[in-house]
Structure formats: C-alpha cells, structure tokens
C-alpha cells in the first residue's frame, strides 16, 4: 500500500483552526516583526507580550498569563471549553488570534466575580462533575444572561447545543441556568 504521509492524516496538521495548522504556524514565525509587542487587556489588567500577532488567544491566556481556568479541549471551536468574553460577548479563544483582540476587553473565568449569579448557581445546584468543561459553560451562560434584557431559561438552554460535556451534567446545567436567571430576576445583575 501507499506510504501514509504524516501531513495528511496526523492531527496537528489539518487546515482548520489557528492552533493546529502547521503551515500557518510557520508563516507566523516569518511574519513576526522584531520588537512588536501585543497589548492585551485581560480581567482589567493590561499586558504587553512579545508573541506573534496570530498566536491563539487560548494559549496566551493559559501559558503566558497563567490563567488556566480557560481550557483546551478540541482546538476547533466545537466544544466551548475555552470560552471567554471579548467586550462582553462569549467567544471561543482557541480560534481567535491575539492580534484580533488588541484593545478589546477580555474576561476569563477568573475575572468573572465570585458572586456572579451564574457562579453562585453552579455551586448551589452542584452542577459540576469533573469540572473541565464548566468554566467555558459558565462564561457562555453569563454572557447570554447579561446580553439578554429578560432572559428566559428555555432560550438560554436552546443556545447551549454547541457545548460538549462528557460527564453528562446537562440536566444540572439546565437547573443552574434556571437558578441563575431567577437570581438575576430578583437581584438584577451587577456589571
């Protein structure tokens, strides 16, 4: 049989997503300009980083800023574990380059206040099992609740189909969403 080429069939070299596309990574290295600093605002703090402009936001958050609550799980924007807020909107950090978010306000799970209704609901309803996908889920729900004037649990749940949880916490995620929305209804949402 034909020899199998590493390029075609091995992970890490598929043409999709920023992170795993080998050719784009090497292009990035040639594009890199001496002394160009990336400016990022994460959780209210300003950072200047010496990284190429098309570095994935996910790895900069995790490995440069050491904010490891944002998780890598699929690298292609399918599962939602790497969700952060960019100017208040939920975005998947694995598919965003740091160049795209310069000057924007980035919030990670660590920057979401501990008394945020979604965090509180997640503890109250004991939603979490292994917990790996949960920061992304929490960030998605938090963004949806704050961007919808009168959020309805059904609406929010319906928009969660592009998330993956392998422990099967879905049933409790629904309860968590319900509980967070009730709290927001009663107490409003501090921003």
């Amino acid at each position: 049989m034909n020899e199998n080429s590493n390029d075609a069939s091995l992970p890490g070299n598929r043409v999709r997503g920023l992170f795993f596309e080998g050719s784009r990574v090497s292009k990035r290295q040639t594009k890199e300009k001496e002394g160009m600093m990336v400016k990022l605002t994460v959780n209210g703090k300003d950072y200047q980083l010496d990284v190429p402009l098309d570095t994935s936001l996910l790895w900069v958050i995790r490995d440069n800023l050491k904010l490891t609550g944002t998780k890598y799980a699929c690298g292609i924007g399918e599962c939602g574990s790497c969700t952060v807020h960019v100017d208040g909107k939920a975005e998947r950090s694995c598919g965003i380059s740091v160049g795209e978010v310069q000057g924007k306000k980035i919030t990670t799970i660590e920057g979401l206040p501990e008394d945020h209704p979604v965090k509180k609901a997640w503890v109250k309803e004991q939603v979490v099992q292994c917990g790996y996908c949960q920061p992304g889920l929490i960030m998605q729900v938090a963004a949806l609740i704050s961007s919808t004037p009168k959020p309805q649990a059904d609406q929010v749940i319906a928009s969660m189909d592009d998330f993956i949880c392998r422990c099967g916490t879905h049933h409790r995620v629904k309860r968590g969403i319900q509980s967070a929305i009730e709290t927001v209804g009663k107490e409003g949402l501090k921003s």
Binding site: P11, G22, D63, K66, A73, G75, I76, C130, F163, T169
Partner: protein, 731 residues
C-alpha cells in the same frame, strides 16, 4: 487543589506525634487500624495505610484519601464516612488528596486505582471503624481529664461534652491525651439513626475551586523550566516510521530536541505551539499498517465471522441444545455494538520530571500504583522513587487507568533532562484512544408451552480488555472483563453476573484479534452486554406474548433487589399506560459492581426514523447511601452518556487506522437531546454497591426497546441512527 503530600512528609510529619493520628490499611482479607503513637517509623512505613486522619491541637481534622477525583465526588464521600463516625464538625474537616504512596491501595483492587465503582463500596466499613475508633479515644481522654465515667460523656461537632457538669472540651484540647491511649480493638459503630452526615446531601468540596477556574487539572500544571512535548504518531496500527526531517523540526524557533520513541517521534519545545510546529516540520513518513485495508466494514465483518469459529465455553448449565430442540417457541438474533471513544474532556497529558534517582509525576490518573511501576521502569529507578502528584481529572471513564501517556512523558523528560509536559491534542486523543471494545453476539433462546424461558445460548466475540494490562488473568481464552454483565470470574467481588435464572444456560466466548487497542470504558463491557441481553429479553417477551416487565420478573424470583428496582421504575414511569402513536416506553435492568438499576425510556420516533427521548426514569438500589446528591448526579450523568452511545457514537476506521479525529466528526449528545431524567434511589440496607458506572448499562436497551414499542422497529445495533431505525421500520 490541595497540595499533595510526598512520602517523606507522610513518614516524617503527618503521622508524628502532633495529635491523634489513626490510619487504616485495607487488604483483601479485611482491614487493620493503626494508632500512630504506638509505632516507630519503620512500622508505619510497613503498615501501608489506605487512608488516614489527624486530629491536631488547633481543633482541625485532616483526612487523607488517595482516590482520584474525576467528578464522582470521592473527595467528599470518603471523608464524610470518617467525619460522621468521628462526630467531627464538617467545617473543621480538611480533605487532602494523598500522594502516591505505595500506601493507597484500594481494598477491592489491591492497589491504588480508582475504577470499577469501588471507592465507596471498598472503603465504607474500614473508614467507619477508623472514625469510630477516634471518637472512642477522644471521649475516653476527656473522661479521664474530668475524672468522670466515659458513659456520661458524649461527642459531637468536634467536642466532648459532660452533660452532668456542663463541661466540654474540644477535640483539639484532648487530642494529645487521646494519642497516648490504647486504640479500641472493636470500635462501636453508630446506628443509622445516629448518622449526622451520611445519607444527607453534603456539598462537594471540589466544586467551588472548579467553578472559580482555579482547580488544577493535569493540563494546568506549571513548573519552573517546564518544557512541552508532542509526538508524531503512525496513522495506521502497526505502521513503522520510514523517514522524518529532524533538521527542519530543530530549525523551528523554540524546539529543543527530537526524540525517537517506541510510539513515534517526540518533539520537545519551550511552548506547546513550538512543539506542534516542530512536529509539523518533521514531515514524518510511515509505512503501511498491519491491516492497511481496515475500515468499519472490515471491522464488523471480522467480528461477525469470528462468531462461526470455535470458542471457549464459559458457562454450560443444564442441556441447552436438547431444551432448544423441544422448545415450543424459539428465536435467534445477532447483535453488534461498535467501538466507541472515551473522549474525556481533558485530553491525555502528563508532566514528568526525571532526576538522577527520582521521578515526579503530576498527572490526572486513575492508577497511581501502575504509574509508579511504569515510570520507574522507563526511568530506570525503583517504583518507590516515583512520586505521583494526582491532579484533578478532566473525566476518567476508565481511559486514565491506562499508563501509555505517562511512559511518554517520562521518556521525554529523561531525554531532555528537564520537566516536560507531554500533551495529546484532541485529534490524538481520538486516534490513539484505547476504545470501548466492539462486540458481535449471536443469541438463541427457547420458551416452553407456558411461555416460560427455559434455555438461553449466547455466543460472544469481543477483544480482550485485559490482554495488554494483565495477560496472566486471561486464562483458557476467557477474559471475564469482556464478559461482564453476562458472566464474572470465580471469586469476583464485582457481582457482574447475569441476574436472570434460566435453567438451561450456555455462554461461549472468542477473543477478537483485531489490532485495535481497547480498555475499560465506564461500566466496562457491562453496557454492551446489557444491550444485547436486555433487547433480546424484550424480543423473547414479545414472542411469549407477555408483558416485558412481567416476563423479566418471572426470571428474577430469587433476586429481591433486581425485582425491587424493576417494580419501582415501572410504577414511577407509569409502565403499561397507553401511549400515543409513534411513542413508546421501553424497560431494561442490569446490575453491576454491586448496584441494581432499572430504567424506563420514553421515546418518540418520527416518520424519518429520528428518535426523540422524552424522559428516562431510573430506580437504583446501591445499599446504604453516603452522599445522596452526587450519587444522583452520577446516575444522571451515566444515563446522559449512555444516551450518547445509544443514539450517536461510533468510531470510524479507514486505511488501517482511525479516521475519527475530533468532535466535528465524532458527535456526542447535546443539550437539546438530553431528556428529563428522574432518579429514584431505593432505601436499602443491603450490601453497599458502586455508583459511578451502574447507571450506564440499562439506558441503551431501554431506548431500543422503547423504539420497538413505538414503531415496531427492532434495531439490533447501536447507535440507533435515523437510517437504521427507518430501515427497521420498513422491514
């Protein structure tokens, strides 16, 4: 994440005379308690504790357990058992995950391994005794201090009280006195009505840090001088490397070393991205695999053809052949369950630091003892010089009991002379998973003239689960892990035998030789085997013209617990009620790891063959309940995961390797597909069973049986895709 403690800390610090310390060591023959004060250092080391607790003068109780936390709530449940018997104040209890001492050996499994739903069921009695011994000593110490009889003193909330005089002392105040007392030989345990924590929902101790984003999983470990490694791996099973361009990889900025390994070509770099870029630049070329033409059709054909080959007889009771020959009615059918992936949300990873005579691992693992053995072998040091720091596990599901990724990290760190985090991408996690084993089964059964099941014959073809991990256990061509749910090995403590009492009963088994690696997957082969048994049981009930619930109960007359869960679930789900057209209920039961579960699925089937699961009701008997809320969460999660396998999951193969690569081509269950789930836990004082896995097996057959009741389509293979359901509807 609590800081794991090293062996040294344990021997020098923790069990020194800083308070009252009691350890428990659990063996296959029972358990022993050890009072630290009594013994010197050598005796402590030899004792090999399975868990221990310290009560210190600051009035804190610190409990060390060694089981891995992967979302099942074990870091809460085990300390609850101790704290309850100890009469501790939960607010003053700290829980620490013990390091991989040789010590943490699971009583049922004989070493530190978190599998087989064994943690609570194995530790329940020993931990109760440990807590009760501590309570007795603290009471005695207070009584001596006050010079009053012990029986006038009571313990509660980290205090001992003397009602007559109104005096009280905290555990912190009496722990040093208590440490000098002899430990009771046979501590008096509480009765159920005296429990303060057990049976009541306690919030899990690991949830707040997981919600805050601060919980440390393996992927999150950071160390000074940390490097990253990835491996270029062969695209087909057994493919050998032909060429690669080391220079090109080394030319990538940040790449430090290219390391040939048994499993591929490793690239070490300063960042993950540089390691991946370096791996791309390698342009590794591979030869053909051992079966270059292998795809899904090949896999299925191979397993099906094996059904016609000579097999090992596993059970042969009565005379199946003769009984079938004279049966009033009989039926035979062939079933197939495909390979499926673990797809833990956190891909495989391990951080290793090999130094001259020691090796440290920071790893999300279910098997610390195996990790020590494997890392020691690879590093060339004794296993006791390997320290395992267990992180949180981003799902375990059985995959993390396999040490392949640990060996890789140790090779990389040893070659580089630096701490290395070896990571798998999601694509590698799919392609190099050791899957849940596929199985092909032919089954035949007969009824007498009363419609009673008299004979049952089941032929099983399945890869061996244990052949790689524990080949010595596979005897006479039989691997009982592949047969779990149908037959268990003699002397097993897992209770994974079929529940039904059928007078003439035959099972044979043949190991499939396909080159696809397999390993336990939540409930091991209980789930695939339950799919076959419970669907065919339904077929036989319909053949007999009997209600599937009553038909099952007839065969479970001496199985009180299985009967009770079936009756309970039937009542709660409204079994027997009239359903609208295109909608049906399906029932199934299965017991494994000492726990009995029955489920009813309520499904609607569209004219396009698409299944909508409306509701799943479960009844569970696992004996005494320690922490009821996480227990229910485990069953909800198990049902959700099992629905995913019933409706959607199948690994795709092509060109002798794995074609599935990420969640875009291997879809799993999504929010809108998860139905209402109702879990009813039966109050039971029968023997305690496990809870992580037994929720899985009944789900897929309950759904398939419901599909039959809804539209008359019998699908003998999962996943129940619209195409398969439609084909069965038309035939």
């Amino acid at each position: 994440m609590n800081t794991p403690i090293s062996r040294r800390t344990f021997l020098k610090g923790s069990m020194a005379a800083t308070g009252l310390t009691i350890a428990v060591s659990i063996t296959p023959f029972g358990f022993k308690l050890l009072h630290a004060q009594d013994k010197g250092k050598e005796a402590l080391a030899a004792f090999k504790p399975s868990a221990w607790m310290e009560i210190t003068p600051d009035n804190q109780v610190t409990i060390y357990v060694g089981n891995s936390e992967m979302g099942q709530g074990i870091l809460t449940a085990l300390p609850m058992i101790i704290a309850d018997e100890l009469d501790a104040d939960w607010e003053r209890v700290q829980v620490r995950q013990g390091g991989a001492l040789e010590a943490f050996k699971n009583p049922i499994l004989h070493f530190q391994l978190t599998v087989a739903s064994a943690s609570v069921r194995g530790f329940y009695e020993p931990l109760r005794n440990m807590g009760a011994a501590g309570r007795a000593m603290l009471i005695q110490a207070a009584a001596q201090t006050w010079k009053v009889p012990e029986n006038e003193c009571v313990a509660g909330m980290n205090k001992v009280k003397h009602a007559k005089s109104g005096q009280e002392l905290t555990y912190g105040q009496v722990c040093l006195t208590a440490a000098k007392l002899a430990m009771p030989e046979k501590p008096v345990l509480k009765t159920e009505s005296q429990f303060t924590y057990m049976g009541k929902p306690m919030p899990r101790v690991d949830i707040p840090e997981k919600v805050s984003g601060k919980g440390v999983f393996g992927f999150d470990v950071d160390l000074p001088g940390l490097h990253y490694a990835v491996i270029a791996r062969p695209p087909a099973y057994g493919a050998k490397p032909v060429s690669h361009d080391e220079k090109a990889a080394m030319a990538v900025k940040g790449v430090k070393k290219v390391i040939p390994m048994p499993m591929g070509i490793g690239v070490c770099a300063e960042t993950i991205e540089a390691a991946l870029a370096g791996r791309g630049a390698l342009k590794a070329q591979w030869g053909p695999g051992v079966i270059p033409e292998m795809d899904n059709a090949y896999v299925e054909k191979s397993l099906m053809e094996d059904l016609d080959k000579a097999a090992a007889v596993v059970r042969n009771e009565g005379d199946v052949k003769a009984t079938l020959a004279k049966a009033s009615k009989k039926l035979s059918a062939t079933y197939f369950v495909p390979y499926i992936a673990h797809a833990t949300m956190e891909p495989m990873n391990c951080t290793a630091h090999v130094q001259q005579d020691r090796c440290d691992l920071w790893v999300p693992t279910q098997g610390q003892t195996v990790a020590q053995i494997v890392a020691g072998k690879v590093a060339g040091i004794p296993p006791e010089n390997v320290t395992v720091h267990t992180t949180f596990l981003g799902c375990g599901l059985g995959r993390r009991a396999r040490p392949d990724f640990i060996a890789e990290a140790v090779i990389a760190s040893k070659a580089l002379g630096q701490p290395v985090k070896l990571v798998w991408t999601r694509e590698e996690d799919f392609k190099y998973d050791a899957f849940r084993a596929a199985t092909a089964q032919r089954i035949e059964a007969g009824l007498d003239d009363q419609g009673r099941m008299t004979a049952w014959s089941q032929e099983v073809v399945c890869p061996s689960i244990l052949k790689d991990i524990a080949p010595q256990v596979v005897k006479n061509g039989i691997d009982f892990y592949s047969l779990w749910g149908l037959a268990d090995y003699p002397g097993s403590q897992h209770n994974n035998n079929i529940m039904y009492e059928i007078p003439h009963f035959y099972v044979d088994f043949l190991i499939s030789q396909l080159p696809i690696p397999v390993c336990p997957w939540r409930s091991v082969q209980n789930a695939p085997n339950a799919f076959v048994i419970e669907c065919f049981m339904d077929e036989m009930a319909h053949l007999a013209g009997k209600d599937p619930l009553k038909f099952r109960l007839e065969l479970l007359q001496n199985k009180k617990r299985a009967t009770r869960v079936l009756e309970t679930v039937a009542e709660k789900a409204g079994w027997g009620k009239q359903m609208p057209k295109g909608r049906g209920l399906g029932i199934a039961q299965h017991s494994c790891f000492g726990t009995y579960v029955a489920q009813v699925a309520d499904v609607s089937v569209g004219s396009d063959g698409k299944i909508k699961v409306n509701r799943v009701v479960a009844a569970v008997d696992c004996g005494p309940v320690v922490n009821p809320d996480p227990l229910v969460a485990q069953v909800e999660g198990a049902i959700t995961m099992a629905l995913s396998t019933a409706l959607k999951e199948e690994i795709m193969f092509a060109k002798g390797g794995v074609a599935s690569s990420n969640f875009d081509d291997y879809d799993v269950i999504r929010m809108s597909e998860v139905p209402d789930i109702e879990v009813h836990v039966i109050k039971s004082n029968d023997k305690i069973g496990g809870i992580g896995e037994p929720g899985v097996p009944p789900t897929a057959p309950a759904v398939a049986n419901a599909v039959f009741n809804a539209v008359g389509a019998r699908v003998r293979r999962i996943p129940l895709t619209p195409r398969r359901v439609l084909a069965a509807m038309k035939s």
